[in-house]
Symmetry: C2
Subunit: 403 residues, 2 copies
Amino acid sequence: MNYRFSDASNNTPKSFIREILKLTQSDEIISFAGGLPNKAFFPIAAIEAATVKVLENDGANALQYSTTEGYLPLREFIANRYKSRGVHVDPKNILITTGSQQALDLLGKAFLNKGDYVCLERPSYLGAIQAFQMFQPQFQEVDLTATGIDLPELEQQMAAKQAKFLYAIPNFQNPTGLTYSLESRQNLAEYLKRSGNLMVEDDPYGELRFIGEHLPNVYSFAPENVILLGSFSKVCAPGMRIGWMVANDAVMERLVTAKQASDLHTPILTQRILAQYLADNSLDEHIKTIQAAYFEQRQAMVEALHQYMPEGVTFTEPEGGMFLWVTLPKNCPAMSLFPIAVKHKVAFVPGEPFSTEGKTSYDIRMSFCTVDAATIVEGVKRLAAAIAELTNQNQTDNQTVTI
Amino acid sequence: MNYRFSDASNNTPKSFIREILKLTQSDEIISFAGGLPNKAFFPIAAIEAATVKVLENDGANALQYSTTEGYLPLREFIANRYKSRGVHVDPKNILITTGSQQALDLLGKAFLNKGDYVCLERPSYLGAIQAFQMFQPQFQEVDLTATGIDLPELEQQMAAKQAKFLYAIPNFQNPTGLTYSLESRQNLAEYLKRSGNLMVEDDPYGELRFIGEHLPNVYSFAPENVILLGSFSKVCAPGMRIGWMVANDAVMERLVTAKQASDLHTPILTQRILAQYLADNSLDEHIKTIQAAYFEQRQAMVEALHQYMPEGVTFTEPEGGMFLWVTLPKNCPAMSLFPIAVKHKVAFVPGEPFSTEGKTSYDIRMSFCTVDAATIVEGVKRLAAAIAELTNQNQTDNQTVTI
């Protein structure tokens, strides 16, 4: 049988990171590759109690079809949480999604024609690239600096390419861990308003800050020009697949229609369980536990990198989130390092899938959230050994060539 | 702010049935409009027990990220269920989806370019039309008879339009309640194999047969040429949003990539709860309860229609499923009847959204699954009164015109 697949499907490669994760599932390998939250912090008992309550009090409605927009008390909880940070969001402008990955798919449906441009940070989140790719846009990357996106370059590219939107992660970016300064957020918002352009602000990690003060979302400065995404995956549990989008009325209407075509609605059972959990427990207290643990793990990784990395290696030192970004020496391509690292029983994600430009990457993404501090130190030592092996090998190769 | 939406979004109307359901949510209205399972049959206590077991035994993994393909024991359960009907399906060829609505979205992603043709039954399921519309195909409808799709017409149209696939619901079709005969299934399968064409066989109602014998899926005669969809929404609970697709290796690979871009994976918590429920309870026994109730309700509706409908009204008498299809007299357009019916405090879905041809419909879809037999009889009486009012009104109008 000769299957006639769509162009979108023919042009979408298998997920790079899925293939990598398959290689690194051995218990012997210390993996900094996956973005999995540490499951030691899942509130299992509290979720069990919430489930029993929901099913005993209102089981039939928790198992029936429900509204596409999502469970209203959950949307109200999210609105109140924004309110506590001084941001006004009406619950009617919140759409519950099946994880924030679905939000990216709905944005593709609502905004992207084949060939349209999307601006991304350089580098950008691979899951967003993958979701948007299904709609066959063109991508334009814009430099990401230590304080935010390069605004002059962004202005020039958005105008030249008539890009449909900028997709960016201003808090503890995936993959770099970088965070936009307050000034950078304000300037970006001013630019969006002035030019009438649209930004998708993805914020799954914003609550996971362990150094410095919370900074307002770009959304708070330009609510008409920003669609804001959030998620419970990193602060509660990813296995429930509950995220959300904040958008104004005109955009909401399109997103709701797209969502109905996609899965009718996010499972109401998990929405009800989560809403009950949030009503009966303090999310703030829970987040403090996660922050403390990830901070300790982040410290362990940063210190170990300072101690064990050879000269020529640089890395970011994130104020929150789950990842940091290591830049290798120029004789150390990330994809060449990967198999050697696996041989040394340590894994990471090479930089390639975080870019649409197809260049050789000398960067790697390291997650500090999944394993404990002692394991992190051991893993960084192994990484240093792998880099040393590749560097020596390359030097030998170079000598061979010059002889 | 001037939002630049996609062509797909601009061309997709708001969901017709959502708008209708809003009009019919008053408790005074007897609604035959929605396709909601009767929630009296949701196994609430058993699902609660299953949840407690899952969270106490393996809570951390039930709340962590999981595989895109779905929870293996759930896929094995589905494979075993096919096996008990003599159909061989390997669990690796089953993809768990977020409701079977998502299966339709994934099919669009994997197969449809803008402008491609899709063949549909005339009439067809509105949720499928809506999902496919996001990919901007063209539709070609083919007559549906009392024993199956019109095969000569299908062959001619599939060839002329080079259609990517036929989408059809051979068991207790939504909206008509019609079922393909065994011969019709075999002939369709032979045609698919002979021509190398693809069929999407949607089967959410196949287990809800209360008259006659189970008939094999078209898939069982032509597994290379058929992608088979199933769902737990109608036999367990829709609020968990768990459906599945059966496809061979080459197609699975594309579907998995599309699914990962769409929501990474279906919530593992609900998959685990459902798998535990299915391991600890008899689905067959549960389905018998649903079948008995829906059969009684179907009998009540068929008898009441025979008794109260005026001459010129015809209707299908389904052997299973949730819906029947009423054809009104030619002076009784479904959309004209709708507001009069709502005034008489009864609701249905007019035929228009089940077609892509934009013609005036004289058909209405009636669900017999949501309300009990006595309420059904009262609702049919109200419908008869509404038809009488519209017919009289039209006769008066005609007299006025001829004077």
